[in-house]
Amino acid sequence: MTPLIETRGVSKHYGAFRALDDISIAVRAGEFVSIVGPNGAGKTTLVNLLTGLLVPTNGEVYFKGENIAGVGPVALATRGMARTFQLVQIFPQLTVAETIGAAVVTHQGKQWRLLSPLLADEAISARVAEIAGIFGLEQRLATLSRLLSQGEKKLLDVASAFALQPQVILLDEPTSGVSTAEKHTVMKTLVGAARAAGVDAIILVEHDMDLVASYSHRIIALSEGKVLADLPPDAFFADPAIIETVVGKRRGH
């Protein structure tokens, strides 16, 4: 089976600095893959390459068999990839319905309808209501995003990404800013929502090893721009050297 998303020998250099060096990874349909690594290991660069924001210095990035190097987030969003951000990203002056609606409009290819009333479009409203329902935001549809609680903002951020009906979703530290006690609840909601929304694969960038261990099918560890390990959780946590590199440095952090 061809991977949904794949990098082949990807490097990204900034002058003499090698942010990423010869990375070859693949994510297949049905997989939950976590990317871990200490700060500065190249996680952000990798995410930006996977989402088509950056063009690799060497190598190629494939999404569903197509080279997506540098095609940009917009093209990827329409082709079936979505991402969320570590820091919550909302549209302060848009309501919850409008925020989700923006993604639905993209998904349904209606963005150039200059004169058709948004409110009268039942296909859009139905989909917005559906997504809001999945994330428990159905009571807040008419609320301005900036008036939501911090947790609701996070949910909305993710919900709007899901509204693109992506095949792959890239979650960049989705539980940052969430209390330890709630982290699992949030993750459960996300994974449940992903299933409900028909997402084929999830890529998670995360520091919390507990979460990584609980949900991942596979863990990719980066260190100094290279792939340190690409293993299932059992094998990953069985290797103390890897844990030392990834977590040990974090302890000192």
Binding site: V74, A77, T78, F91
Partner: protein
Amino acid sequence: MRRAPSVILIVAAVVALGLVPVLAPPFYANLLVPFYGYAIALLGFNLLFGYGGLLSFGHAMFLGLGAYGAAVIAGVWGIKEFEIVLIGAALAGLVVALPLGWLVVRYTGIFFGMLTLAFGMLTHSVLFKFYHLTGGDSGMRVPRMRLLGLEFAAYNKIELMAGPFYYYCLALMLIAAFLMWRIVHSPFGLHLRSLRDNAQKALYLGVRVHQFRLAAFVISAIYGAIGGAILGFRTGLADPELVYWTHSGHLVFMTVLGGFSSFLGPIIGALALTLLQDQLQSYTQYWRFVLGAILALVVIFLPRGLAGLAADVGSFLSSPRRRPGPVQLPEHSQPGVLGPGLRRDDVA
């Protein structure tokens, strides 16, 4: 049902405007013709500013384009059908705004403002310098034109302005407002607002940031040119003053006075400033000072403009127990987050 009172208010306002030529002295109908020109231009301007988050400080150039367009089409080429002039002005707006917009929409914030200011002043100096073509400071004549193919020969120009042309402009404004209402409430409008609020997030939701800004820029240019054609017909002259940077400042003034976060705000602002300036000029020779002071007060105390004030008063009256909430401001940009404070486009 909640919208019913505002619908009644709008209908009442339109009826009141329609009655001006009948009930008020002809002077007021004449005075309001430029208001319609500004109202149409500002509807477009606010698509860019209020809905798109881009403050153009050179937007007067499109009003100039419309007025000079009218001067060329009706004056030089002798095509004296106002409808053709309007189409020509709109096309001119489109043709100029496409390449210009392509250049400027890559920037936001102060950069966008300065770039549009620079282009506006470039236009001003071109109009001034190439005086064999443009008449320099004395501008180009905009002759009297036919409306809907009718000559209205029985009317002199003042009667034409206070009668047929007045209603023509009112109708034009209503059409322009209706179309703009549809645009801002369309899926396109939603995407435009989303990228105003957070361009990075919008990008990842598949919002084509540059294309949408360009579209908004072009639409606003077309509206500006149509408004400019009305001003040109009214004044009978297209002159470089129309394009000077302080006139652009005036456009922003009207928009903020009325309230840029509301659909009708710019129209209210255009009306308010037209009437205010008329009155002030009669009462004091220092009317610019008073205007400046009013602008300062509005900026400081009424950031949502007259429309915001009206909304607060309205909600206060409709539910006596609920006081108007604290002034709600659009989320501000954080100065300095992107390099030297120049909020360049987050994606460029």
